[in-house]
Subunit: 146 residues, 10 copies
């Protein structure tokens, strides 16, 4: 089994049992964003989480070590096409320099880590149309001089 | 004057007067992220904001109408290179499919708007290293069937 | 079954039964453009439409939930090659800035949504050669300042 | 004077006099979309239209022949970035195969011409948000066998 | 059967029977260039031609409707590599602007159609080396003002 | 003076004197396609042609040696955008494999030279719309085995 | 059998029998570079060479006609990556303009043919490290004026 | 002065004095290919060669140190377009794998250096058309295991 | 067996036996970086190393000659995406010109070989977070003048 | 003054005074690699270093604040061309997956930081040819689960 096989098995089980990512996340005690990324093969599971995923979903035993493998993170499209993902890319394009100005003004010369990082998605109900609240939380890493 | 000229004038004044984006934002009563993007030429100012920016910064009068012009939003690098901006691009690459799963589970088939949208940057102090909190807030737009 | 399998099944049935997209569209009570896009896997069907498609075409029962899945919308060619599609791309290239000028003059700073959107194709008979009338209808979304 | 110089002159005069594309279009008796494209240097003017544009806008006499020159139609971005133009590109990507199916079902094997072509933009007022109506009208060109 | 399957079947039969494109073209009463393009899946056959091709070559009956299908015309290499095809690409690169000057001087603002189009290849014997004569014949399409 | 300067000088003189490429070509005793390409800087002139061009057009004396320089032939767009040039590119894409089949059937394994090459443009009047006749004439070069 | 199948068969036999390209070349009476290219499917064999290759290597009879087929010459990487091949690409990049200067000074305006062309690889023993001697031999083709 | 300025000065002097690369090369006692590359800014001159170039050509004294600077070697076109240079690129594409096979058979696992490297161009007179003989000479570098 | 098959076999055995690259490297008496690269198919093994790898890991006998084959070194992504590899690419981008300045100041005009080259990875324990020490060791190759 | 202006001023002074990067580095008490990168505009200087650079080199006072500005780090060539830099890129391509295996085996799932990072270049004298020793030192950053 490779990560892609485990991902496909999870999608089949999820559909057959009518599970949501939220339910799976609660069952293993992690956030829905992170669990989804691990199930999509974009993060490695600590052993206890792998255990819980295998038993909650009824995955084959072999899936445990696959979930724990360190993934090679790649994506197919340098410029994403699906509208939901493209809009995020567009935000990076339109606001990238702005965020550089604002973050470096508040923190100094450095970056927001994408490794020591977490993210969550919330729903804000609104009579004019509900709103997606996407929160990223990354450690600030200052540049080094030597 | 074109938008780029106004942007350069703002950078010069900002440096000469030792202003921060935060100060400028407070002076015109808008958020620092949005004001920075408008000063970088990536958003158009409502008339009252343009008035306040011109008078607070001491820009030439001609700058007002330029700040109000509707920008053509473009960026130079399809794949950004500056590490701060690249990390955001990487997050879209690594977590794009994950966000599609999670957002569409919570909201149905549709996207988070990048137009009816706002964003803010906060600093979370932390003894192990401060953290950047980046919050995006976009209207959910459901797909239409016809 | 995945969306691509349902699409192939539909093409086979459509050819075997000599159906047109127009006939299929009428049978399910939606427009021909939208129905075609859903059959090509580029839009998700509301449950009742999925039901009607399955029964009208005689698709396997499993196809219903597949038709209802939220698609990942991607296309193979950043610059399309088939002449019919390329001409549309060329129109965007040649007239893109023009449309930005005209739409934003009429509506203000914002865009035409491609999500809250519909489109139709009509035939105008003309002795010098029939004409294709392609009508797009998208909600205007004004930019937000915050 | 080159086309780009005439375009810049037109933008300056348009701003100084507070003219809209619609007003300019009415003054020369053509549609606003076409006039805008000609002013942006993407179409050549028939002599009478060039005359009217020069006199209505007060362009230098030399501009007349420049407006009549046959343009080389190019655009900077193979994948457009400005959100208004990108959404049109996205529509071509998402619905390109759909339009090929529907147009060729109605007309036979061939394409919609982007040369023998016109386009208009209308505003449909709507309490839930006004809508952009974009109508393309192109001659159907059947493929030749020989 | 898809177009690619019919193309492969034709290549096998053509090799097995020692046929040339010229012979096939004569058998179906069309030019060799067009017949070859139809056999390669780049043009759709009128019904009578499809009938003749199927019977002359001894293709399976199912091939008839496949030959009549409207093809999606695509090619693998944006910049072709095979030397024979690259030289044609090079001619377009080296002489593209020249042809624009000369054609538009002779015909006005417009293009040579690639749809209402035919092409032939002839051999000119020459003691210094035979010459390829490639003749393209396309309808001139003038641009429209509206 | 560089080739681009001579080209610009020629365009100015050509416009000021109302000359056509055809007239210039006749004056120097070469074809219009080749003369245009030499004036655009894509071919080098033999000395006598350079002499005639300089004297017929009234170019500065220095232009003679520039016209005789061997050009570096490049073009800006790997995939051309102007519709007139794109259609030629599209023909290479759609018919490239076809031409390889037909030319190699008639001549053997080899290519049509783009160096030992000439081309002409003719106008065929036709009540349904005039037609562009584009004729390429290149030496066949057989591959070498060693 | 396609060219790729013949190539794979040759590699298997070559390894099993412990043959070198040099031995194969001698057996068929051609140079090692050309024979290798023909075995890799990048050149077509004259009939007698195809006969000798088939009998010397013990290929299936069907391979003969495949070796004689005219290849479509393509390569996977526009910028090659394997260090041996990249260095050749780098030489073209670094010395391309230099070679244009030197060749055209010696021969006039034209090119070195890559079709009427041969190449050989020799080994020069040298105590400081052996040296690769790569010799290309191509017909000079002068540009044509017409 | 930068390398590009020295190159332009050399081209002007070379044209004004009617010098050839061969003459310049003889004057400084180096090969014509290497001297041309140094004059084009693609190699650095040893001090004595720089001295000779400056005095033979009558360059400004400042040019000496510029000729001795270590160049940054870059080229504009990943895929070259000028036909003379493209043919070399095509040879790398068509024969790259062949050369890897032949060189590594003769020398073992390694590459031909493009740094410890020289190259020359010769003219072979031939009644059927003169031939360009291009000889590359590079040190073989074996891969290291550690 | 091809290199990819041997690589997959090694990964399976490595996982089944719980081996580390370090253990494998020690068993065959080479460094861990080089052994890993050879197992990934990016370097060829000397015969004795191939022997040891086959016997230590229990690979099929056929793997020996495959491990000794000279690899074609290619990679999928011109711009790598996995964060660990991207950071190395970013270092080349950010510090490439810097390294050129510093290396050429210390060594003269030339390069660091990537062929006569070795590399090692060490771990520096550090209470603030362990550090990766990556050391490259390549022969300096001076440019040649001729 | 912008960073590029300061860089050019430094290069001029460095050449005029015959300084090396090593000397400059010693004068300001930092490593030569880092100082070079800061002078090339790829790192920001702490205030005391900026002071020392300005006074040691005799830069205009305005340069101090420019040296302290946070740079936007970009590079022109996604795939570098200068051979010295390309070899580094090639090492990333050839050994990227290897380094991922080895680093993650030693440290766990995570990356080597390119921000909390330093690098040095050393010269190892060797009778067979001196060797470049390039040492990178980056903090290991483990991935976060949440």
């Amino acid at each position: 089994m490779k990560k892609i096989d485990v991902t496909e098995a999870i999608f089949e089980i999820k559909k057959a049992k009518g599970l949501s990512w939220e339910t799976i996340a609660e069952a293993v005690g992690m956030s829905d964003v992170w669990v989804t990324s691990a199930c999509l093969g974009m993060n490695s599971c600590p052993e206890d989480v792998a255990d819980k995923l295998v038993s909650f979903l009824g995955l084959p035993a072999e899936a445990k070590s696959v979930l724990m493998e360190y993934p090679t993170k790649t994506w197919d499209q340098a410029i994403p096409q699906d509208p939901l993902v493209y809009r995020l890319y567009e935000i990076v394009g339109v606001y990238g320099d702005t965020l550089k100005e604002v973050i470096q003004e508040k923190f100094g010369d450095g970056i927001m880590s994408a490794i020591d990082f977490s993210m969550e998605v919330d729903k804000e109900e609104n009579p004019k149309g509900d709103r997606v609240i996407l929160t990223m939380n990354g450690k600030f890493l200052p540049y080094n001089a030597w």
